[in-house]
Symmetry: C5
Subunit: 363 residues, 5 copies
């Protein structure tokens, strides 16, 4: 199996030296070093009666949408440009520390109530079948009274089904407000947690089978990789529980009462994900224990084979050594039945040894 630890490897903490010493609220993109990606601002503006989709060239154009009563979803891809985020801050009046958090892609999932808007930051997990690895990307949501702004680290996301539902007005998609839109985004993110968890589950089962039937050092590498990935998935997923709980109990006009039952559903899901990760961690720990025991068992088996061979052949070889000595005066060598007798004697010794080890259940 391809080691998948590469990508998350660099992820433990990235709030790094670059930021130390800067004044609080300084906007610096903290992420992996990569060629700057083109920023893209796309808008979906809808109400029950219609949808309007556009790409924006300038941040200021947002205002024409956020000032209307319709629900507006502004999606910003590739947030590497501090200037852009700063403009957002100015145009829409966001708090500088929040802007700093959007750019710092090493946030722990959290929710902040800024009065006129909510700030939710969380991790998207996506399984990349091509690369066979889990990609972790930060998503920042700003939820206002009639808009949701989503900031993503990289272009490309898994929100297309939601876009389609909005376009086609499926179910409640266009009937409810910005809070329902935010819920729908969270729901999709958590649905992808399940997919990731599912794939990990398959790999864990394969790994368990391997441990039992054909454990090799490569199995150890797999176990190690799985443990590592579970640590990172857990780190990404665990704080979501608090986020959703806070969201449910937040005393804010931004969340309609009717959205409450959906959030409860979300909470059930995230608890399920966390329990799944826990179970997986137990299973992998178990697999490692079993692996170790298996190796011990094998070493024991090998030792037995070695001991049996040594115990059988060492005495026999010694006997041949005796009769291979060159003393002038060795009467046994002259006896006519000496050779066959010796052979028979050695046969008896060999058989006795084998029987002895059989009785000890080493054979």
């Amino acid at each position: 199996m391809k080691s998948t630890a590469g990508a998350p490897r660099r992820k433990v903490l990235k709030h790094s030296a670059a930021k130390a010493g800067l004044p609080p609220g300084a906007l610096v993109y903290v992420g992996e070093d990569k060629p700057p990606l083109a920023t893209r601002i796309s808008i979906i503006d809808y109400d029950e009666h219609g949808v309007h989709e556009r790409e924006l060239a300038r941040v200021e154009e947002c205002l024409q949408f956020t000032d209307k009563a319709t629900v507006t979803w502004i999606n910003v891809d590739a947030i590497q440009e501090p200037g852009l985020i700063e403009t957002f801050g100015k145009v829409l009046g966001f708090h500088p520390l929040m802007l700093e958090d959007i750019l710092n892609t090493d946030q722990r999932a959290k929710i902040e109530d800024h009065g006129g808007y909510l700030y939710i930051v969380l991790k998207m997990l996506e399984w990349k079948p091509g690369k066979g690895e889990i990609e972790i990307e930060q998503l920042s949501l700003v939820v206002g009274p009639n808009f949701v702004i989503s900031f993503q680290e990289r272009p490309g996301d898994f929100f297309d089904p939601l876009r389609a539902r909005i376009r086609d007005a499926v179910g409640r998609a266009r009937k409810l407000g910005a809070d329902f839109l935010a819920y729908s985004l969270l729901d999709l993110v958590i649905d992808h947690y399940f997919i990731v968890i599912d794939r990990l589950g398959e790999r864990i089962e394969q790994c368990e089978d391997e441990v039992m039937t054909r454990a090799s050092p490569a199995t150890l590498q797999t176990i190690h990789d799985l443990k590592r990935e579970l640590i990172f998935v857990r780190k990404a997923v665990w704080p979501m529980k608090d986020v959703i709980t806070s969201l449910r109990h937040l005393d804010t006009p931004l969340i309609a009462k009717s959205t409450g039952i959906f959030l409860r559903d979300l909470q059930d899901h995230i608890v399920q994900v966390i329990e799944g990760v826990d179970t997986f961690q137990n299973l992998v720990s178990d697999a490692l224990d079993t692996y170790l025991s298996t190796v011990s068992n094998r070493t024991n088996t090998v030792m037995k084979v070695l001991a049996v061979f040594s115990a059988v052949f060492m005495p026999l070889t010694f006997v041949t050594g005796i009769f291979g000595m060159n003393f002038r005066d060795m009467p046994p060598l002259e006896w006519s039945w000496g050779f066959p007798g010796t052979l028979i004697g050695m046969g008896v010794i060999g058989v006795l040894m084998v029987l002895f080890f059989k009785s000890k259940r080493w054979l």
Copy 2:
């Protein structure tokens, strides 16, 4: 022993790719791929004065029972058909998210108060002696003012003793309301937890004996299987504690005061089950530790045998080698007592070696 890990193996999480991207409340059966089973709706309607049993062809027929003052137990087997569940939802006015949960057979045990009815979802554990494995099945209970609807994943259940008690009006069976019926169902489910736990306990004891007397790699497999099963049983049983506690403290007219003491009893039972599972997990961990120590011990023993043989015969063989050399000028070979002297010398060396190892308690 037959490995029993097969069935629960596929169970960690099944809220899978199929659902991601669907709108919330979409009804999809999430369970194991199996040929669709025939759905069956059976009804037991009773009060103190009589019982009425029937099979329903259409969901709408329910209404004639739920509208009466009598207690009605509607049991639905094999819930794979989303259409059927949807019809239930429409006919009886259930919340779509609850219908989704009924079909998603990968729920964590929970209780939801929907005002006019309670929704309880939990896991039934059943020991299948034929297959030697634990079957996990999801049970959804909808408890209304005068009815209980139970949704089961598969046909066949262990509720027949309760049906018999209702038919024969044993004890309180027909005197109390729908809440007592729900309690009776929960009680039966938890009674079967005890049976499962009991069987696991027997296997753990066998396994402990094996570890102590005749540990083999198969024992390791057994320990691994038991650990695995306990993880899944724990996962199924653990959230039941919260469910029962919530049920006891729920502020709802659906649960009569008098049922409280029975629920307390139920809570005692579930705590006992959880404690049992904990104890078992400790015992199995212990067994693994002991297994590992046993293997280490054995390797040590084998090593000693090997070392003793080597230490005894290597010097002796060396001596024979010396007198087997072909130097023209080797005076000892000419001595008449050379051969017997050498034999005696080698005997002394051998005895000394054996005594040495005896003194080190390796023999």
Copy 3:
């Protein structure tokens, strides 16, 4: 040491198949299969002025005592007969679920306030020096305003010192009410926890000494047994903390204010017992770790011996092999100093090897 795991072995859970499907409150004795023991009801009735002791033939005779103002202690030995317990229930008006709990000897320690009386169930631990094992027996106490009924699984108990104090009116024994009597019983039970814990402590110390000085597979068995027993003792003792705490804070006229300070004392004791068990579990875990390390150490030592012997004698034997070859044309064989030279050479090789291993501290 005699394995003492035998008796508690069968104890993890016994709320078994026999009960599944029965209506709640059904009275079935759940305990070990043993020839039915004769039930015995004995009474001690006392106040400050006198004592009255009797054996009762029929349950109904209780009433003449419980109706008096004197304190009455009714002790019931060997509760296997459901009929007897049922009669108690009828005569004294006890709740059916409580009667069920009395018969189910697999209860977790708990306390229930039934208004007119308290129900306390707990485990008695007794060290059986003869058998070298810990006996676990369930004790049910029903504490009324002026009576205490104690239900024991088996005849024979350790309450005789209390009986003697009542007879002889030692200290407060006869001056206080039924609550003090109940306290005195609990105190005796917990005193015996200390004794059991003490004996375990001695065995643990022996075991620790063994691990350090003469660890053998039998030591491993002992460690395993101790771990097992501690798991069961912990299981019996742990819930007692909650029981005593509840008892202290119970809002009931059945417990006099003045008894409070005695209950606090009891709570201190049970905390001490639990801490002792915790400490023991740590010590035994430690002993296992040390055992494993000791075995590793020994294997390492054995390996070194083996390696040294091999490394010394293999090259030497090889040399003898060279000069034992039968080539026609082997000049060294003709040299007159060939044999002594070879011997000296081999001696040098041997000494060098030994020095080499000395320098590596393998010798």
Copy 4:
């Protein structure tokens, strides 16, 4: 290193068989069996204006001091005599259960508010450099409005610096009341926890160095001893946190408001001690893990040496064996370059083997 486990070894629990069955409040000294020590009652009576020191012959003499407004510190050494403690109880009106606790030197640290006086029991830890072990002694403090009585198990203590400060009226020593005296005693006790912890820390560092550089079975013994001692130190120290917290928040006129800040300081100290013990336990666990890994490493190294020797010399010896056979018709033996050729061939085999193992990094 001298094993220091001797003294605490006998300490896990001593509330033993001797007490079981006695009525509550019975006064029995529960401690180690030792020749009875002479009891000594010494008094320091002081206020801002002067100090008065004396030894008392009879308990009743206390009253003349406790009835005065001056602060009185009564120190009782060697409390083995139940009679003495009983007298104290009668003279000063103490509760019988408290007297029992003073004599039972196996108490967990706790604080009890008896209205007119506080009872504090705790463990003194003292490092005995001579014996190289930690001595654990119980200290009972009874804090009244203007007196403190300290009961010690054995003569000799580390309170002399406090006595000196009182005599010399250093700092606040003589300006504040009995509560400050009690605080000063607690402060000294906790200061000695630091000393003990410090010594343990030094031994742990030595032990860590040993593990890394010259691990031997003696190191294992040391690790085991340290683990054991930390378990006992933790057991003694841990409950002190609750004691100090309770003391701070106690609603009693016995503790002046102004003493609060000193108690907060004490609380900081005890938290620091507990954290230190935690850190040490982690370090020692670590050391054990490292030790085990080191032993594994060494075994691996020894095995490699063994394998290399075997792999090099077994084939060579086999070759000499071939040419040492005595077949009449062995053409190679007749070849003139047979012997040197064989030697060269064996040299090549040996070199190849060595190169092979070098390439595998076994050499």
Copy 5:
């Protein structure tokens, strides 16, 4: 890699013997024994309109600044002189216990509200690239209404960026009060936690790679060092969470409402640091487990090689031994095809052995 455990090694606890017995509030510097460092008091006094920087010769000069409305930051380097701290206490009226805490550089991070000023003590972690180790230094902050005094153990710190921001009036640096200055200091300290954590992260990744590809005893040393350092970093960082939380919820006029949001940000950061340390501890534990498994694997491989060599060559050598015996009457030796036949036979045995081990997957 250079062992970096040296410096923190001596740090577990230093509240040592020197202090035991002294009266509470006695001022003793508790730190590492080093040549006394020159104390330096430097002042930055600023408001929106200007900055004033100076070094003070005498503590009393502070008063002219603290009495003004401007914000004053007094930084004291190298606090080894108790006299100096005492002077501070007298001049500014600080509590003696607080002064004691400033000098005792073994404090746990904490915050104390003394009414007119706050006392915050915490640990600065600094990565010293030259020495390749983490330096831990205690920082005490006294936050008054218009001043902050910072006491450092050693000269030199990482606050220069803040000084520069104050000089250049960057951002809010000079607009806000002393509470913001204190926040800025804390922010810088926590930023350096991230740097330290980052470096540790890099070393952990290197270590993980090493374990997987070229594990050696040096790797074990590295793992051990990392574990050790994480224990100390955790000890330094963990209590900061409580400090910041207390700071946020403190009911004091010293902290302006507007500073609250910055403190929340700080809290997010410290939680992130702690989570990072947790993750690292998991990763390092994992690495140790993997290391152990790797060593087991290798030993197993070595054993197999050894067993195969023995199993192949022992029988062959035995055969040569047979035909090397010197019996007068050994018919096989006379057979003309004896020698080649024996060679072929031995070849067959060798090949069979190899095939056998191939079938067992040992080769």
